[in-house]
């Protein structure tokens, strides 16, 4: 038993010696105040020329169409097309005549009478139709009945088919009403000093059946005449006279500030003549209506605003069809007009009157016309994005509740430093400096983002043609230290006013073209240094 006690005591002693109570851990401060260090990229943004242009507009949807040429140069182009078709060049006065002739008949007495009616084909006295192969036309004839037992014969020798003149006959006692299809007929009018005409000859052969003084009514109408080809001289006529308005939507959608100077606009009048008639075109009364104030500025064109386009020969037409028209153009630009002045006046509408006159030089060559041939005229306004910016200043106000967006006011005390890191890689040919002001609800400045105007977009590098060859990279930190954070926390700014100035290099002497591939990359990151402090 003694041994048991001894051993038990040994065991108990060992356990007692082994177990012990260490010093008390007394934690007085359970505040969580570990580091809040944090750094992360927020976004990478890309901007192209549309972004820049959209910054000049209040609209979110744009209708203006901007084009790029083969080298990527951007431009605006507004085009109006005019077409003068054959029937405006050659006016055919279709028959639509009614003739009334007295005819005396006696019963049992032979009747043998002739009539001749002349039909003028040219609607104006200067037009002469030498010949025409009719593609389609209808000759409508109507004759009244007479108390004559016999026949009437009508002949039109100027209308032939297969060498034979047009001829038709009818019973005089019954009268006549018929339509004759003239497709394929050759029309070779006779000519007098002022007209091209045909003679319609009618002869009565028969015997009277009553004693009476009669009226012979004869109607003739040639309708829906479409020539396969017509030759002659189609006169000196004004074939087109129309007021034109070209609306330039870009300048109504985008308010281009006066500090952006543009140049290089030109207005072209292009003409392509597929007909066998020469023309003269004239753009008269050219003027610009400005978008700013609806002011009208006349376009001063130092050169002649007439343009002559020769006719094509029938021989060439047979050989080449419509593929080789005669063409001509004139261009209105800064060398021969006040184009730069009107371009920098925010042009809204280009107004003019287009006049087209046929055969301005008289009968130099025989005219011809076919239904396919026409005169095409195009008024083309071309405006390149070729510009210089001289201290373009913008001041934009944004809702920007600093304490809500950046630092919850309750948590701002945990932040020792907040850095908003921006990195711009600028491929546009201008620099961008800015200053931002954080203002309260009464627009009192609480603090500014920078100490002065800060350059955000660095000017890129250019080649000899002033085309961007290397982007300008620049990193800028907006640092909110504890003092600034405290000012913002107390001042409660709710608006951010950004005052920015954009300029091109060596303005205003150098102009820069805007290319399709120009762009801007922007990276925004934040870095936070602080300690979280639980209550």
């Amino acid at each position: 038993m003694k041994k048991i006690r001894t051993i038990s005591l040994l065991i108990a002693g060992a356990l007692t010696m082994a177990a012990c109570m260490k010093d008390e851990i007394k934690v007085e401060d359970t505040t969580y105040n570990r580091s809040l260090n944090f750094a992360a990229p927020i976004f990478t943004a890309t901007a192209d020329y549309t972004t820049i242009l959209n910054s000049l507009s209040d609209k979110s949807q744009h209708e203006s169409i901007i084009y790029a040429d083969d080298e990527g140069r951007l431009y605006l182009e507004y085009t109006t097309k005019y077409h003068v078709k054959w029937n405006s060049i050659l006016n055919i006065d279709t028959y639509n005549n009614q003739y009334v002739t007295p005819v005396l008949t006696k019963a049992g007495t032979a009747v043998n009478q002739k009539f001749e009616f002349r039909h003028k084909l040219n609607s104006d006295n200067t037009t002469r139709i030498d010949s025409m192969i009719i593609s389609s036309a209808t000759l409508k004839l109507e004759a009244s009945a007479l108390p004559i037992s016999g026949t009437a014969i009508m002949t039109l020798d100027e209308l032939t088919i297969n060498g034979k003149g047009l001829s038709t006959s009818w019973e005089l006692s019954e009268g006549m009403k018929q339509n004759i299809d003239l497709s394929g007929y050759l029309l070779k009018p006779k000519h007098s000093s002022d007209s091209s005409y045909t003679n319609c000859k009618i002869r009565f052969v028969g015997e009277g059946t009553a004693n009476a003084m009669n009226e012979f009514n004869f109607k003739v109408e040639m309708s829906d005449v479409i020539p396969q080809v017509a030759f002659g001289f189609f006169g000196q006529n004004e074939v087109f006279n129309e007021a034109g308005i070209q609306h330039m939507g870009f300048f109504s959608e985008y308010r281009v500030p006066r500090t952006i100077k543009m140049k290089g606009m030109h207005i072209n009048l292009n003409v392509e003549n597929h007909t066998g008639t020469a023309f003269n075109l004239q753009m008269a009364d050219m003027r610009i209506v400005c978008a700013d104030n609806n002011e009208t500025i006349p376009v001063h064109f130092l050169d002649s605003n007439n343009i002559y386009v020769n006719q094509i020969s029938y021989k060439d037409f047979l050989a080449d069809g419509l593929s080789k028209p005669k063409s001509n153009q004139y261009m209105l630009d800064s060398t021969n007009s006040n184009a730069d002045e009107i371009l920098n006046s925010s042009p809204l509408d280009f107004e003019y009157t287009l006049k087209i006159e046929s055969n301005p030089q008289g009968e130099v060559q025989e005219n011809f016309i076919t239904p396919e041939t026409q005169l095409d005229a195009t008024v083309d306004i071309f405006i390149p994005f070729y510009f210089s910016v001289y201290d373009l200043n913008r001041c934009d106000t944004f809702n920007f509740n600093f304490n809500d967006l950046i630092l919850d006011s309750d948590n701002s005390k945990y932040v020792d430093k907040l850095i908003i890191a921006m990195k711009f890689s600028n491929g546009f040919p201008f620099s961008f400096v800015t200053q931002g002001y954080l203002v309260d609800e009464n627009y009192n400045v609480v603090d500014s983002l920078f100490t002065g105007q800060e350059k955000l977009w660095k000017m890129p590098e250019f080649d000899s043609n002033l085309r961007v060859t290397k982007r300008g990279d620049l990193e800028t930190d907006i640092v909110f230290d504890s003092a600034k954070i405290e000012r913002c926390s107390k001042g409660n700014p709710i608006y951010l006013i950004l005052n920015t100035t954009v300029s091109t290099q060596d303005m205003p002497d150098k102009y820069f073209m805007l290319y399709e591939n120009y762009g801007l990359d922007m990276r925004l990151a934040i870095e936070l240094v602080g300690k979280y402090k639980s209550e």
Partner: protein, 482 residues
């Protein structure tokens, strides 16, 4: 149904566990489970039968120590929440992750008997081994936040868990009067496993970009887990589902078959130098399981850089942030290229190496010194144990001791066994804290263990046959003299 299966398994584990026996059991000869630690050691019984459902064993090992979460500086105590807290001290410990390692086992059948030449043991067990580690990156984040240039290493994030059947046969034989040798062979059959293996999993923060680089995989063999690929060959995580378990599936889970085969061996010796001194050593759980069924492995190899949301300024007013976030997720997925494979993989058991020496000055007292090394993935744990083992009466045994773990904590071992005729009741426990602290946080105080939070406890009920002596010699020749 799956939940029911898990419940059944968990229940079995809770009631009859025998996997990771406490160190304190090593020199307690009259508890038959001592042979689990060294198959050369023969229990003081001609035979035994472990009653299923009456043996409970549970181990929770961790490298997380309470005292390290409080630091004193100039007489003031700080917690990890305070900026005065120096994280470098705990980061040194957690360089391979903050580890938690629960292990349990289920003894379905366990018995042994003394044969003519040696001692045989037979066991059928269900076992769970797991090793879970929180990545050290979490503590780096708490320490420094996400300052620019911080690289967070998540590669030491680890989930390695397996459930398997074990059928074992052991034999111990006294080759000479001094030397006893023993072995135990184990056939293993896996039920389910999940294993992560990342060679690289780094997140680097910065102003300009965040970079995520990962190379590695998650390997699973989980019954009825179905995963599919997208048309582009990447894993379709949305398709992950479990098929409904059918009777045959339950049978497959509960009864060992030839799928997911594995093997392990225990071996050891006990050398009696003289009547007072003995020396012994053993290796247990040296083996592995090859997972060949119900495989779904996800491999990633790639890198992703986040440079901010991509915005076209012209369209800035119409940004759909939800869509932008989805795009980021899609980009990460595309860059990481998570592919699905059915690759066979292997998981090793956690081998233990025991080396012990015993001194028996009196026949009822043994003083034991024991070293235990457990090899884990890329690391190891080491314990030294000093124990007093008393057999004052044939009906009662007592042990106590001290355990020193090289991670820096000292704890006590304690155990007893009570023999009531052929019925034996025992309880063994390791890692009983020997140092406590009152932790008073802003007035609220509580007493907590100073060092360890580990637990290893085993309580059991055996039927002992022939406890009075060996077949050819008395078990204890001096009870009467005590």
């Amino acid at each position: 149904m799956r939940k029911h299966i898990i419940t059944i398994l968990a229940g079995l584990m809770a009631f009859t566990a025998s996997a990771q026996q406490p160190l304190s059991l090593y020199y307690v000869d009259n508890v038959p489970q001592t042979s689990a630690l060294n198959p050369a050691r023969q229990p003081r019984a001609n035979g035994y039968f472990a009653i299923p459902g009456a043996n409970v064993s549970f181990m929770l090992e961790s490298n997380i120590m309470l005292k390290e979460f409080f630091q004193e500086k100039n007489g003031i105590w700080y917690t990890p929440m305070n900026h005065e807290f120096d994280y470098s001290k705990i980061l040194r410990r957690f360089r391979n992750g903050a580890r938690v390692r629960p292990e349990v086992g289920v003894s379905l059948l366990n018995f042994g008997w003394r044969g003519s030449k040696g001692y045989w043991t037979v066991g059928v067990n269900e076992r769970v081994q797991s090793n879970i580690a929180l990545p050290s990156a979490i503590f780096n984040m708490l320490d420094n936040g996400l300052a620019p240039g911080t690289t967070l290493n998540f590669a030491n994030m680890r989930v390695n868990a397996k459930v398997f059947h074990e059928i074992s046969v052991g034999y111990s034989r006294e080759l000479t009067e001094q030397l006893a040798m023993g072995w135990r062979v184990k056939y293993l059959s896996g039920i389910g496993a999940i294993k992560t293996d990342f060679k690289k999993f780094d997140l680097t923060t910065g102003r300009d970009k965040w970079t995520l680089e990962a190379k590695g995989g998650i390997y699973t063999s989980i019954p009825n887990l179905k995963m599919q690929e997208k048309e582009n060959g990447l894993v379709n995580f949305d398709s992950t589902s479990f098929d409904e378990l059918k009777t045959k599936d339950i049978v497959n889970v509960l009864i060992p078959f030839m799928h997911n085969p594995g093997a392990a061996i225990d071996f050891g010796f006990n050398y009696t130098i003289d009547e007072n001194f003995s020396f012994s050593a053993s290796v247990t759980d040296l083996g592995f399981i090859a997972w060949t069924n119900e495989l779904n492995s996800i491999n990633v190899n790639g890198g992703y850089q986040f440079e901010g949301l991509e915005i076209n300024v012209s369209d800035a007013k119409n940004i759909d942030y939800g869509e932008a976030f989805d795009n980021i997720i899609d980009s990460i997925e595309a860059r990481m290229s998570p592919t699905l494979s059915k690759d066979v993989f292997a998981t090793a058991l956690n081998p233990n190496i025991y080396i012990g020496a015993a001194y028996t000055p009196i026949h009822f007292l043994t003083i034991g010194l024991l070293s235990k090394t457990t090899i884990l993935n890329k690391t190891a744990t080491q314990d030294f144990d000093l124990s007093l083992n008393l057999n004052p009466y044939k009906c009662f045994s007592l042990m106590t001791g001290l355990d020193y773990n090289v991670k820096g904590h000292l704890s006590a071992n304690f155990g007893w066994s009570l023999n009531l005729s052929f019925l034996q009741l025992y309880m063994m426990t390791d890692y009983v804290p020997v140092a406590y602290r009152k932790v008073n946080i802003e007035g609220d105080g509580t007493v907590l263990p100073n060092n360890t939070g580990d637990v290893n406890i085993s309580v059991g009920l055996n039927l002992i046959f022939g406890a009075k002596g060996y077949r050819d010699r008395p078990m204890i020749n001096a009870y009467s003299d005590f």
